[in-house]
């Protein structure tokens, strides 16, 4: 299945010049529906968790589609949808320096403090 390979797809070129050896198909100019990120609360009391994305024309459709795609087996009691273009993310390339300030602050953890074993309930 997904192991079928080489001859067919290996010629995928970078960015916008793909499909050069494929015949053009009529109606390719169709505008794409916006992309939405989907967050689902699996049960009351837990937080919403990112589960994936889908295309929809508006928020209502995104929520309905999210219900059909991501909660077919009662996986959720609440759905958030956010249009993907509004998600801003930290840059993974900067991760090392970005999170560096927390590295040398072990005193933020309770285990940093030396206390006698007799001390109970703390």
């Amino acid at each position: 299945m997904n192991l079928i390979k080489k001859y067919y797809y290996g010629d995928l070129p970078d960015e916008h010049n793909s499909g050069t050896n494929a015949p053009p198909i009529a109606g390719v100019e169709e505008p794409a529906w916006p992309l939405w990120e989907i967050f689902i609360r699996s049960k009351q009391g837990l937080d919403h968790k990112h589960v994936g994305s889908l295309h929809a024309t508006d928020a209502t459709m995104a929520i309905e589609n999210a219900r059909d795609v991501y909660t077919r087996r009662q996986e959720g009691v609440s759905i958030w949808v956010v249009e993907s273009k509004y998600i801003h993310a930290s840059n993974p390339d900067d991760a090392e320096s970005f999170y560096e300030p927390a590295n040398d602050k072990v005193y933020r953890h309770p285990t940093f403090y030396d206390l006698p074993d007799e001390l109970k309930h703390m």
Binding site: M1, N2, L3, I4, K5, K6, Y8, Y9, G10, L12, D14, E15, S18, G19, N21, A22, P23, I25, G27, V28, E30, P31, A32, W33, P34, L35, G52, S53, L54, H55, T57, D58, M61, D68, V69, R72, R73, A89, N91, P92, D93
Partner: protein, 330 residues
């Protein structure tokens, strides 16, 4: 940073089982391999709806019909999880669909075989979904985060598919003479195409080594195929049926079942478009796409109209809607 260093860092992360996420640097070839594999997988789920949809109206009971509809719905869902995962690599949904329709992207060859009898719903569940699961479980640990997460969700759902298939065959196997022979005949037709699903033999599958180094794949095609044959050779006994392979027998020394030679000519023939249903499947996908175009356009037009201030809607018309379409493309 020079590319070579980046590649080293990338490989170290992969070796340490740290998942690669969409915004992380990755080698071009890794990206291409994933796009190819994930999109072909997505296409397979979507095209895979067709052979089974064929039997929804003729399912023998309400229970079977409800099950089959739920299963076909699941396949649509699986296709969507995978398309979304592929999109995180920078290819658009539209481009993938075009590649399917133009024949540039492939899908699993198994779906180019026809579903001639009701027993085929059983064989597809047991053998085709069984082979898919064998393939997909290791993919839950694939190094690319969105792919592995999609696969975890898929595998969870796929298990009911296989069980309902086996149940169909089990019921037939306990039926009358006609039902039993329908069961056996169906197994006979699906067995060889199912074990072909694992792809070419390892010695003629040059991509496997690289994919394993990148931890996209965890086992070779032949390893997975052997595991599948071992499992099925036992399961078929419960059905009181047989697998259509005279060379199938337990090899004490290897601890595995030996099996007969696979007809790779048939495999490549079907891959290259000459299977019994290749044309029919692609036509059905194209027809669905073309005939659904007006729905997609109308939904977009409606959304644009709703999001415009009321004064604009009086001006309405083409030019405005074109503008907002362009805006939404960015």
């Amino acid at each position: 940073m020079p590319v070579q260093n980046r590649e080293e860092i990338f490989q170290k992360k992969v070796d340490k089982e740290i998942r690669i996420e969409p915004k992380d640097w990755m080698p071009d070839q890794y990206r291409k391999t994933l796009i190819r594999q994930i999109s072909q997988h997505a296409h397979s789920e979507i095209v895979g709806m067709l052979p089974e949809a064929n039997w929804i109206t003729r399912a023998p009971s309400l229970r079977r019909k409800a099950t089959l509809i739920a299963k076909v719905q699941d396949e649509a869902g699986h296709g969507l999880y995978l398309y979304s995962a592929a999109e995180t690599l920078g290819i658009s949904r539209d481009e993938m669909i075009q590649q399917l329709h133009s024949g540039k992207a492939k899908y699993s060859s198994i779906f180019n075989y026809p579903t001639l009898t009701w027993a085929d719903m059983g064989s597809i569940g047991w053998l085709v979904d069984g082979a898919a699961i064998m393939n997909q479980v290791p993919l839950c640990r694939a190094s690319y985060g969105p792919y592995s997460r999609a696969m975890i969700r898929i595998c969870k759902e796929e298990s009911f598919h296989q069980r309902q298939g086996f149940e169909i065959l089990l019921t037939l196997s306990k039926g009358n003479e006609g039902q039993r022979s329908m069961c056996q005949e169906s197994i006979n037709r699906w067995w060889w195409p199912s074990i072909m699903m694992f792809g070419p033999n390892d010695d003629s599958s040059p991509n496997t080594a690289q994919s394993m180094k990148w931890k996209i794949k965890r086992f070779t095609n032949d390893e997975l195929r052997q595991r599948f044959v071992d499992v099925c050779a036992e399961q078929v006994k419960i059905l009181g049926m047989s697998l259509p392979d005279p060379d199938l027998k337990w090899n004490e020394e290897r601890g595995h079942f030996d099996f007969g030679a696979i007809n790779w000519d048939e495999f490549w023939n079907v891959v290259n478009g000459n299977g019994p249903c290749n044309k029919e499947r692609l036509e059905a996908r194209k027809k669905a796409d073309e005939e659904g175009a007006w729905v997609r356009e109308a939904a977009l037009a409606y959304a644009n109209k709703k999001s415009r201030p009321p004064s604009d809607s009086v001006i309405g018309g083409r030019s405005l809607s074109t503008q907002s379409n362009e805006a939404s493309l960015k």
